[in-house]
């Protein structure tokens, strides 16, 4: 049952990612990417990482993807706007990604034997309480720096987006 649930969510993620890469219409591509984000949130729930699942839904599937869709609809792209790449470049792209996949899987196959024993599953490490305790004890400085980064991002986006600099 657990394995079936895993394979269902994994199939959903991979299928929507494949459709995202190969879809001609960018609007449908981004919509399919939203499905991928939701299925990765499902993976987080299966991994006992409830905090990350909620953040994934709010930040990725909610904020970032809506920003993508907003820009996409504002730009009013036509479907035939995308220029054709020649077949050699397409083949090279698929071939390179395939070789990369084979390489990564081959590397991980070498360490397949040393199984990591699942320990401390009862402590619920991904719950918001524990992660918050960790965040505000050991990671306070990166947390504050992240707020400065967000501020810089906001100012930069406004400056770049202005009509006349």
């Amino acid at each position: 049952m657990d394995q079936f649930l895993f394979f269902l969510v994994a199939f959903l993620a991979v299928a929507s990612a494949v459709y995202f890469v190969f879809a001609k219409n960018p609007l449908y591509a981004i919509l399919s990417l939203i499905v991928t984000m939701f299925s990765i949130a499902g993976m987080y729930i299966l991994l006992n990482a409830q905090f990350l699942a909620i953040i994934q839904i709010i930040v990725y599937a909610g904020a970032i993807m809506v920003l993508f869709l907003y820009i996409l609809m504002m730009l009013n792209l036509n479907k035939e706007d995308e220029s054709k790449k020649n077949n050699t470049l397409k083949f090279v792209g698929v071939f390179t990604a395939g070789i990369l996949l084979v390489g990564i899987l081959g590397v991980f196959r070498g360490v397949r034997e040393n199984h990591i024993v699942v320990e401390n599953v009862d402590r619920g490490i991904g719950l918001t309480k524990n992660l918050g305790r960790l965040l505000f004890n050991e990671y306070v400085l990166p947390f504050e720096l992240a707020s400065i980064l967000i501020l810089a991002g906001i100012v930069g986006a406004v400056l770049i987006g202005k009509k006349d600099l």
Partner: protein, 109 residues
């Protein structure tokens, strides 16, 4: 703690490694294949998400919360990156009436 499910004890860690590798390579393939700048930015998001999944999986299997906090910070950086990147794409569209990356060669020499 009763509310924690014991799902991950029946799934090997390899499955998560394979899934995130496949997602990462799909993202690489999208960057190499597509010409729409918005879709390329989305492919970068897909790659970030696959790495996030791997970090969360290792963190959950080792019972250590540091990896999940790293995922949290990656999400923060990704949000800022997308905001600036989409502003740049909107500016490029306003100047060239296209988001095709093959005509963005204005910085070339």
């Amino acid at each position: 703690m009763g509310e924690v499910n014991t799902f991950i004890q029946s799934i090997p860690l390899d499955y998560f490694v394979i899934l995130s590798s496949v997602l990462f390579c799909l993202g690489v393939m999208g960057v190499l294949l597509r010409k729409n700048a918005i879709v390329i930015l989305g492919c970068v998001e897909l790659m970030l998400n696959s790495v996030n999944l791997l970090l969360a999986a290792f963190s959950a299997y080792k019972g250590n919360g540091d990896g999940q906090l790293l995922v949290f910070f990656i999400m923060v950086v990704a949000a800022a990156e997308v905001a600036v990147g989409l502003a740049i794409i909107a500016m490029l569209y306003r100047n060239t009436r296209s988001v095709d990356v093959s005509i963005f060669n204005k910085l070339r020499g």
